[in-house]
Symmetry: C2
Subunit: 316 residues, 2 copies
């Protein structure tokens, strides 16, 4: 079963890993958010892409990002040179960024570089950036507009977010590789990533919603998973961000977002949120209630199987 999964960083990577294990090799394509990408120390860094690739290669660090067993020689030397090193990069991770930056500078498209990097890392699935054009997520706080990683890493998501924009999205367009993945897809999965700043940028790419809609018109089912459980984001600032943007910081709030975007057939929520199922159904979505907290690999695969089952269920 050929599956296209929309994903951000750590949470998305976990479900992608479950899907990769539940599917035959090569059946999974992950479209990753590139709105968090940044330039630091002359390197082009793609945090979500790398998190997903490292996870799917089985070499991600214990906290879900970076590389397992990485060392910190370069960043230490940069600090001694007086460079700001709030965006900490491991040595093996820097090798990834050097590989990427060199190819980009040579004129390869970001998608080509991602495919080459995935192959070099031994990733059995395809990991595609959402677009080849640069899209940069920026957030407005009471202190003004910030680059995403400034807010996310340097300020550790402390400020309230009042507004979000995806700079460059209006000039971006789905790549041939992304379009091809949707045309071949038999199911679409929206990972339990931050709906605003992980899934949001992907949906803002020119032609992305149309590709999803076209697949769904062909009968392909789209299943989303809530990244908010019991009113708390499993990871990251999605709950506080939804609240400060005036949305409901619950699985129902996430469902409302996706329903208004006419993105999904089915929404998967945690047992803890069973009481919200009626509200989600009232939005016109089917509901699956299951264990969504991916505490270990077995849990990732279990959730992936539940998602795939929902994607193959007969329409209600």
């Amino acid at each position: 079963m050929r599956v296209v999964c929309l994903a951000g960083g750590v949470g998305g990577a976990k479900l992608a890993e479950g899907l990769q294990q539940a599917l035959a090799p090569g059946e999974l394509t992950v479209i990753v958010n590139s709105g968090d990408d940044l330039e630091r120390h002359s390197l082009t860094i793609c945090p979500d892409q790398d998190t997903v690739m490292y996870t799917l290669a089985g070499i991600a660090g214990p906290e879900g990002w970076g590389l397992a067993g990485d060392t910190w020689q370069v960043i230490g030397a940069l600090a001694r040179l007086g460079e700001g090193t709030w965006f900490r990069l491991g040595d093996g991770d820097i090798a990834t960024h050097l590989y990427r930056t060199e190819r980009l500078r040579r004129g390869e498209r970001p998608t080509e570089v991602a495919v080459a990097l995935g192959r070099a890392l031994g990733v059995p699935s395809r990991v595609l950036p959402m677009a080849d054009e640069p899209v940069r997520t920026r957030v407005r706080t009471d202190g003004g507009w910030l680059d995403f990683q400034d807010y996310f890493v340097r300020l550790q998501q402390a400020p309230d977010v009042r507004e979000v924009r995806f700079e460059g999205a209006e000039r971006s367009q789905v790549t041939p590789e992304v379009a091809e993945a949707f045309r071949a897809a038999e199911a679409i999965v929206v990972a339990p990533s931050n709906p605003i700043v992980s899934i949001g940028p992907i949906l803002a790419v020119g032609g992305m919603r149309q590709e999803i809609a076209a697949a769904r018109r062909r009968g392909v089912r789209a299943v989303g998973v809530s990244g908010i459980v019991g009113g708390k984001a499993l990871r990251g600032p999605a709950d506080r961000m939804m609240a400060s943007l005036g949305e409901e910081a619950t699985a129902l709030g996430v469902a409302r977002r996706y329903a208004s975007a006419q993105l999904l057939d089915t929404f998967v929520i945690d047992r803890l949120d069973e009481s919200l199922a009626g509200g989600v159904r009232a939005l016109g979505l089917q509901v699956v209630v299951t264990d969504t907290v991916m505490t270990d690999v077995a849990a990732r695969v279990r959730l992936a199987r539940d998602v795939l089952a929902a994607a193959t269920a007969a329409p209600a």
Copy 2:
């Protein structure tokens, strides 16, 4: 005594260290060859500049280049990604290149970056690239034209060199910093670096010979040191290169090169080459015969003092 020293890599760095110790802090300016600079793994690498800076900062590796005690995590990870890693870069060294590359990309001039890097590394002297414009040394072998580091590092100087050119030199121009250093200079020293591919590119920069000539007209004396002792280059391929270019691979051959460029007042040769002193004098140069092999720091300082004494001696 304010001294300007023209230098390439390891040999030049050794004499520069001796000069730095023999002079008051801040009195030494080293103009380094940038014809060996290269782009690798998206980084701008300046081997001679870094060798001189690391040496003057007291942090150079045991073989004279790279950093003492450096680690090799990044290059190992790049090799695992399938990248060609014949140009081996240590982790701390990579931090230097990231620092440099980022500033260059921001639009700073190479000279500004070198000065900032020297300050960050705690170098008490000024290390200036010979020019801000890119100049690239290329060598013609029987197998065709090669980039310098291709010849020097990848092929380990095995092929015979039939011709040398400094691409871009015709569009290069001495920087305000280099011109200022010559205007303030009380002595000019040409280090025992490769006369063809280390000193050669420096002299090929637009206006460089004129700056040297102007200083000498003011009475500033220029003293060169032979990097060839007993017919052998102390380091690198200078002897074989001179031979394959049809020049005499001895201290006298080096003296002939510099005499025909009207570069020097005095040439310093090793005791081993005392028999060549008459030949050097016949070229119109004064000769100093001394120990020129810098086996340790004390020997570097001794040679530096001999060079400075020659630079202050009354004209013959």
